[in-house]
């Protein structure tokens, strides 16, 4: 008979022993809290949002929401061309921000993981992360100072008889492209880390020029990193309304959702419009999957 454990065989002790003997139980105990969080709070609130999109809001007499099923919110969104314009504008700006960030991030990420020595790599890493230590709002307000009529940009351009774009769609594009850039660089740099140097060398040994090596060897291998980064930049731009409200007077999906809160209190319409970016992101992720972006994860 094995020597008994000197602890009294309490209930907690028995549980601990059972868990340590059953690996499946261990996995369940490990995953239940985070999965519960994800399912209940994330998917749960998404479910409530979807349900709210079909409710009715009485804006005239009671200012209250009736929980009856109707498609009126979606009909209103489809019937009014303004909402289409706003959705389209948001998607276009999000795409432009993503493309711009990808183009800027590529050389930086490449230099970080393939060219820099350990010290320079650390410096570049800190330089990329540094803006993330600053408040999002401070960065936007700094851009207001840069772009305003008497601001820094116009001061620099004045000797050349030029003037900056001022506040508007271009300002939104500039500010968001700046703010989300680190979210593109970091996954892309991680992507480059996974490309073996030997493959690049082999490609050039086999006679491929720089461009061919880039297009046929490097690009397919860093695609997962690029897609991961683009999901960040694209979805963050789709949902932003604070930067938008500070540097432009035009409306984006987020600002319309926001303006339906408060006095108007039309949460059902806001919920219906919030479904648009959800659908766009689902299509985007579906496209990314077909490109094989998730196979290397």
């Amino acid at each position: 008979m094995a020597p008994s454990v000197p602890l009294p065989p309490g209930f907690g002790h028995r549980i601990a022993r059972t868990i340590s003997r059953h690996s499946k139980l261990r996995l369940i105990a490990l995953l239940t809290p985070p999965l519960g969080w994800l399912v209940l709070l994330y998917l749960g609130s998404l479910g409530v949002l979807l349900a709210a999109a079909f409710w009715h809001y009485d804006s005239d007499i009671t200012f209250s929401i009736t929980k009856t099923f109707s498609l009126e919110n979606f009909q209103q969104l489809l019937a009014d061309p303004t909402y289409r314009t706003i959705a389209l504008r948001t998607i276009i700006i999000a795409s432009l921000v993503t493309i711009t960030d990808a183009i800027i991030a590529f050389p930086i990420a490449f230099a970080m993981s393939k060219m820099a020595g350990p010290r320079l790599k650390a410096v570049l890493g800190v330089a990329v992360l540094m803006p993330l230590w600053t408040s999002y709002l401070v960065k936007i307000l700094a851009w207001r100072l840069i772009l305003s009529a008497g601001g820094v940009l116009n001061g620099v351009l004045r000797p050349f008889h030029l003037s900056g774009p001022g506040f508007g769609d271009v300002a939104v594009y500039l500010v968001l492209a700046y703010i989300w850039l680190p979210y593109m660089i970091l996954p892309l740099a991680a992507g480059f880390e996974r490309v073996p140097n030997s493959l690049i060398e082999a490609s050039s040994d086999l006679g491929a020029r720089t461009w061919a090596t880039f297009r046929r060897v490097v690009l397919p291998l860093v695609l997962p990193g690029l897609v991961a980064g683009s999901i960040f930049t694209f979805s963050l731009t789709l949902g932003d309304y604070i930067a938008v409200s500070q540097v432009s007077s035009t409306q984006f999906i987020g600002s319309v959702i926001y303006s339906n809160q408060g006095v108007s209190g039309d949460l059902p319409l806001a919920a219906a419009f919030a479904v648009v970016p959800v659908i766009v992101m689902l299509l985007y992720l579906g496209g990314a999957r077909r490109l094989g972006a998730f196979e290397a994860l």
Binding site: S59, S148, A149, S249, S264
Partner: protein, 392 residues
């Protein structure tokens, strides 16, 4: 009042608050608020417009919150809201005792059950409030009082005197599609601004027959919306946050547009002062009258009643009015203000009932026009949708 009556009052008001909290949107029944003000709860959380609850943080000499705390023992936490939307959203959390709400939000709060009926008899200073501000659609619903008037003012036309020539006299300056200040014009970013266009049309296109700028029939509404769509082409930035428009005027992003007196005052107190002037143009103006309201879920209703009485006393009214730049709801404040500023109450038309009645004070538009026209007016939702369309 006997001790027992005070206790009863506290219990009654507690029950009233509980009932209101449980009932949610119920405004039925003859509830007229508590019958007495009980002992202070030691704390007060209020949602205010910037400048309504100063405690010396902005300017050490401007402080009427600290004396209130000393008098009542109610530790006051003012939460500044920048827009009416924000005020409604904050009130919906149920974590505040009261709010200084403007007329574009009050109906929403009253009908939505976020605020409780107020027993105006418990506010000693209520009898001195300007009668023209009492029993108005923006503070009374179906004969029940929901608040105490605080102060009122006009929406003004402001411009940079150094960069705008000649000085404008009409709202036409912001509705001109060929404005020389294209891209530097501003307007208030809120559906309620449609009323400003209607006010201009009321004078310039009498054939539309606009009587009430908040109760517009379809053709009147369409005309106002079209005017605003045309104005959109000359707008640089709309404003809703007063600090943002203040900065825009100061650095020249905005040269002309609608404003509040408090913003003009802040610009003139810049060092060096931003050269601006603000007027009520020849067509008259829209305006606002703010109301102190008690949350239906207030945790400190007694402190809120004490605050409402305190803030409407002549002395405090004189301080707020001078600091914020508005007409005090209690004209007795003028006797105190005139000791230091003899022109103030004339400038703000405090006792000029004709001026007050000429202002179109903010209220929430309803389908029911409130007159013989019946249910043919545009609802607030129509205003909101139209505002989204105007901004594009």
């Amino acid at each position: 009042m006997t001790h027992r009556a005070v206790t009863l009052g506290v219990v009654m008001s507690g029950v009233a608050v509980l009932l209101a909290a449980c009932g949610g949107s119920s405004v039925s029944g003859p509830s007229k608020g508590p019958t007495s003000i009980g002992k202070g709860e030691g704390a007060l959380n209020i949602i205010v417009w910037a400048g309504y609850a100063e405690y010396g943080a902005t300017d050490p000499t401007v402080n009427w919150v600290t004396p209130f705390q000393q008098q009542t023992g109610c530790k006051t936490n003012p939460k500044i809201a920048g827009t009416s939307d924000e005020m409604v959203s904050l009130m919906q959390t149920g974590q505040y005792d009261g709010v200084s709400a403007s007329g574009n939000a009050t109906l929403r709060l009253m009908v939505g059950g976020n605020v409780a009926p107020v027993n105006v008899d418990l506010i000693d200073n209520y009898k001195d409030i300007n009668p023209a501000l009492k029993d108005q659609p923006y503070n009374t619903y179906q004969g029940t009082h929901y608040g105490i008037p605080h102060g009122w003012g006009a929406n003004l036309l402001m411009w940079r005197t150094d960069l705008v020539n000649p000085a404008p006299t009409s709202w036409g300056a912001v509705f001109d599609p060929n404005s020389p200040y294209k891209g530097k014009v501003t307007a208030y970013d809120d559906p309620i601004y449609i009323a400003d266009a209607a006010l201009y049309l009321k004078k310039t296109q009498p054939s539309l027959g606009i009587t009430d700028v908040y109760e517009l029939t379809q053709p009147q509404f369409t005309a106002a919306v079209n005017l605003l769509k045309q104005q959109r082409t000359v707008i640089g930035q709309y404003w809703s946050d007063y600090t943002k428009t203040q900065a825009a005027f100061a650095n020249g992003d905005t040269l002309i547009g609608t404003t509040w007196q408090v913003i003009t005052n802040l610009l003139l107190s810049n060092k060096p002062p931003t050269p601006v002037q603000a007027i009520v143009p020849s067509e008259g103006s829209t305006g606002w009258s703010d109301t102190w309201m008690v949350s239906s879920q207030a945790a400190h209703p007694n402190c809120m009643y004490m605050w409402m009485n305190y803030i409407t006393s002549p002395k405090v009214q004189s301080q707020v009015a001078q600091w914020f730049g508005e007409a005090p709801a209690n004209p007795k404040a003028c006797a105190i203000i005139s000791q230091t500023d003899s022109n103030f109450c004339t400038t703000y038309h405090v006792n000029d009932t004709q001026f007050l009645s000429s202002l179109a004070l903010w209220k929430v538009p309803l389908k029911n026009c409130g007159d013989s026209r019946g249910n043919v007016c545009m609802s607030y939702q129509d205003w909101l949708t139209a505002w989204t369309d105007i901004k594009g």
